[in-house]
Symmetry: C2
Subunit: 581 residues, 2 copies
């Protein structure tokens, strides 16, 4: 339990390259565990520590006070931590043989050497700028640091039309904030969905939510060039020739790790392109550590070494690297599970662990369950529908990941699954969790319980699932909804579906052929489950429940919370419901 603290040099000299999440955490922890270490932190930027995740919100005005983004000054580091924080200083070379770095003062141009006992690299990553014409025109921005933010804000002053290239976290967050500032916004994404690492059906509600708020989406589109006139951006030309006018362009297609310093020093770069690290965040040189966006982490779901450019893991491993450098020992670094969440106007969406696509690519025999339910008791005012896609392994029932989307309660379900997968928990564990329940907060059977139950029924063979993207043409399809529901939301992928309402099914079994493979659907999957059980016990040999049924599509169509909640699940009734799983 307790980390063994082997004897370290009483006062190692620790140099840290880069402030912000990883570096500043390392510096503070190093001081706390070793009062006598000498600690110097170098940061190229004028800000030694700032809230980079807050930048989009200041652009949009949600965060009004710029000072809130600026965290710690060199004076604070000095007075409180005896840390020598040198801003506008760049480490330009590492001489491992002599354990010395070369530093350049960016204000004076002066260069000097600084010896180290331990060196912690937290160089971060840089936005990728694609090699297309016009990429450097005035009015084309990236968003990574305070300087970028200030430039964008200055650029917004007279801007009317923004094009955001890349629909990941930064792209979507920035697009929303540009809308808040009154800009006409188009988001261009090469993949045919936003948040490309989500499974598509989880991204679709974000499409509708973005469009509902006036964002134009150009999905599955590449960018050919950025148009400029007199050096200033005037538009974006897509690969298919479409021209979008624009006076502000944000490049948000991803980041590349800042590994040049490590490469030049001969440190091993991993297969993912990040600096290779061991269990204590040491690089191939045991006196040099690497953390943050440029480092590789053990990726929890697979054990692979991957880059994980997210704030949480940078903070937590920075802390451990600082301790290890300062004392010679620390707990091992945790695995990164890539848990993340993004807010898109009134919706949140996120992932813990693997998507179904990623799980299959990683070689798992993976299956998925789709649930649309309410974020708290349906009878309590304000219940908002949330969609959950739970991914699990066929044989073991191990939960591999979850994706959640909705107007409320999304982060909570992600965190529960993130905790569960930390322990390599199964769908059985998920179904057993004793979660906090009162009507304003949840349901006695939480949507996560329901997802677990449906997954158990799938693996047990009680009600095997078929995925919503399956080709249903070879199946006998039965839609067990009420007549009115069919009109409201046709089961469009199966025009040959036979309609037999659930409560009539036992009386109309003769109309179906028990020898045919059969798929049953309803709105949310609950009535279909009952129907699957009836059919299976009346001699139908192969009968499947359509996972998510019509509800996922309904949800994607974005009939939002509050407005017409009753349409989102089978029956608008409390959770002590009889038609559970």
């Amino acid at each position: 339990m307790v980390a063994t603290r082997t004897q370290a040099p009483d006062s190692p000299k620790i140099l840290i390259v880069g402030g912000v999440a990883g570096g500043a955490s390392a510096a503070a922890r190093a001081r706390r565990v070793n009062e006598h270490a000498r600690i110097i932190m170098f940061e190229r930027d004028p800000y030694v520590s700032f809230a980079n995740c807050g930048l989009p919100y200041f652009i949009g005005g949600e965060i009004a006070d710029r000072a809130q983004l600026l965290i710690a000054t060199p004076e604070l580091f000095r007075d409180r931590f005896l840390i020598d924080a040198r801003i506008r200083h760049e480490v330009i070379a590492i001489h491992r043989a002599t354990k010395r770095v070369m530093v350049k003062n960016l204000d004076t141009g002066e260069q000097y050497g600084e010896d180290y006992d331990k060196l912690i690299l937290s160089p971060g990553a840089a936005p990728i700028v694609p090699p297309i014409p016009g990429a450097t025109a005035q009015g084309v921005f990236s968003l990574r640091n305070i300087g970028d933010m200030d430039r964008i804000i200055a650029g917004m002053t007279h801007a009317k039309e923004a094009v955001v290239i890349g629909a990941g976290y930064i792209g979507l967050e920035a697009a929303e904030q540009f809308v808040h500032r009154g800009l006409k916004v188009t988001v261009v994404e090469l993949q045919d969905q936003v948040m490309p690492f989500f499974d598509r059906e989880i991204a679709e509600p974000l499409h509708r939510e973005s469009e509902r708020n006036g964002v134009r989406l150009e999905l599955g589109r590449g960018v050919a060039a950025i148009e400029e006139t007199n050096g200033a951006v005037t538009g974006v030309t897509l690969a298919d020739g479409t021209r979008l006018s624009a006076d502000l362009v944000l490049m948000s297609i991803g980041v590349r790790p800042n590994v040049a310093l490590a490469v030049d020093a001969g440190l091993t770069i991993g297969a993912s392109g990040g600096i290779a690290t061991d269990a204590y965040m040491r690089t191939s040189d045991p006196d040099i550590y690497a953390v943050g966006d440029a480092a590789e982490y053990a990726f929890g779901p697979t054990g692979a070494r991957l880059r994980v450019p997210l704030a949480g893991i940078a903070n937590r491993t920075g802390r451990l690297a600082g301790e290890h450098a300062a004392t010679g020992a620390s707990r091992p670094a945790p695995a990164a599970w890539s848990t993340s969440v993004v807010r898109v106007f009134g919706y949140a969406a996120g992932i813990a662990g693997l998507s179904l696509r990623a799980a299959r690519q990683a070689g798992f025999d993976a299956r998925a369950v789709h649930i649309v339910s309410y974020h708290h008791a349906s009878y309590y005012p304000g219940a908002a529908p949330i969609g959950i896609k739970l991914v699990y392994e066929t044989g073991s029932g191990r939960v591999l990941g979850a994706q959640v989307v909705g107007a409320a309660g999304v982060d909570k379900r992600l965190d529960v699954v993130a905790t569960l997968i930390h322990f390599k928990g199964t769908i059985e564990d998920l179904g057993e969790l004793d979660l906090a329940y009162a009507p304003p907060f949840g349901s006695a059977k939480d949507p996560l319980h329901m997802a677990a139950f449906v997954a158990q029924n799938d693996l047990d063979g009680l009600a095997p699932l078929i995925q919503p993207d399956a080709d249903l043409s070879a199946f006998q399809v039965v839609d067990v909804r009420e007549a009115g529901e069919l009109e409201e939301l046709p089961l469009c992928d199966a025009p040959h579906a036979k309609h037999i309402r659930l409560d009539d099914l036992r009386d109309r079994l003769g109309e179906l052929d028990p020898a045919l493979p059969t798929v049953v659907s309803c709105r949310g999957g609950q009535r279909a489950y009952a129907a699957v059980r009836i059919l299976a016990q009346h001699g139908f040999a192969q009968v499947y429940n359509l996972s998510g049924a019509a509800a996922m599509r309904d949800f994607a169509l974005n009939r939002r919370s509050g407005a017409e909640p009753a349409t989102h699940v089978d029956l608008p009734r409390p959770e002590h419901l009889v038609d559970d799983a």
Copy 2:
């Protein structure tokens, strides 16, 4: 993973005593797994299934539509599930030798026998009415079912002053709703705090929040009598003679399990007073199951068999008992961890696992950490302070429980800890969790991470904690806050504290005696931690951090979210902070 399904009688006859959470879940699951079973459910009340957790909210008008509370009708059970649901039918005797129950039709008085193969008892619990004068006066109510609710609403028509006796979940929820209806409300509680199974410092913010909303609290007071005039309640006399005038009294001092039927049938009653059960919720008679408020469960933190009168576990085990009865097999019942949450006006508070008091009573060598932090990034608008008390075992670091209180994000942290303790996770696991982070949802270092780090520092000996209720008179106490903070919130339990601001500490070490046991305090514990580390590394042999420091008290004083967040933690700065743990 997959439950073994041994061959059960093809069509067992299953009787279920009691609807609502446990019984209705059992009935529906039994049908789903066994289309051919005969299933009869008996319910004394006119409602076979209703949302009992929603009753207070309908009283207060938050839930406006009474139909929302009424879930399933006997017709639905019949049409969809082929379940014979008999309302206003009470099972009055069980003849185990002949596997037959006696049933009374409460409308006609008729009695009849009904045979069973399997019998599931879900008889629930009844409000405790203390044996005091006036307890049956008109205007004295309990709140357990729809009938109670309707009576209270009728009784409210002309009521002006309500006294709520008992400050548990129902009492606090009802008190709030009475306030919403314009009543003057007093809550009387025998213990000296509301929510008596919370540790006191977690209950205190609820005291202030209740009082802030006009509720008068009479804590540590017993009730001697209920006064009545012409049979109608006019007031409540406390044990110390205080008289509270009242025209409506709610008794909410707890429930007692309805075990008479089980006792009469000779079934074993456990030490907790509930019906003894095995891993499959079978009673001492293997053909009879018990679930819900009258049954005993394996209590997760200790393994003891306890009653756990909460909705979640009733639902989940009802489902399993129904399956086991219908097929002869099911997954074993999950442990109950007693996770629960209550909303009190603008605050929520809850517990997962054990309080420190309960952990020590259960024989654990337990310690606790107190954290006051923000529910999401402090720089993002709307950050609300939350208080967390994390309880863990000294040797192993196993997390035994957590209590959380605050205006937002409380249920999420409870659910994360509930998931962690399901796996018997440690403070190390908690610190490693990869939780979903974006500024509107959390912090890169979540308050739970911070709690884990502080606990690790405690167990590692880096910064041992002393509990906030400790007697500080024998210690050298150092308060390292800024001068202005001391005036704002004196460290009242240690008037002899010496004030040395953190940033001056290294220069003023000579003013302190390193031979004395020393306690350091600040507002939130973070600066004190830095100071502890400085002192420990400068020859102070015994130096402790005051857990929660002044912040818990500040929080208890209820300086609420939004108004002055800056006062609630050490420094109002973003979470990429240098002064982490």
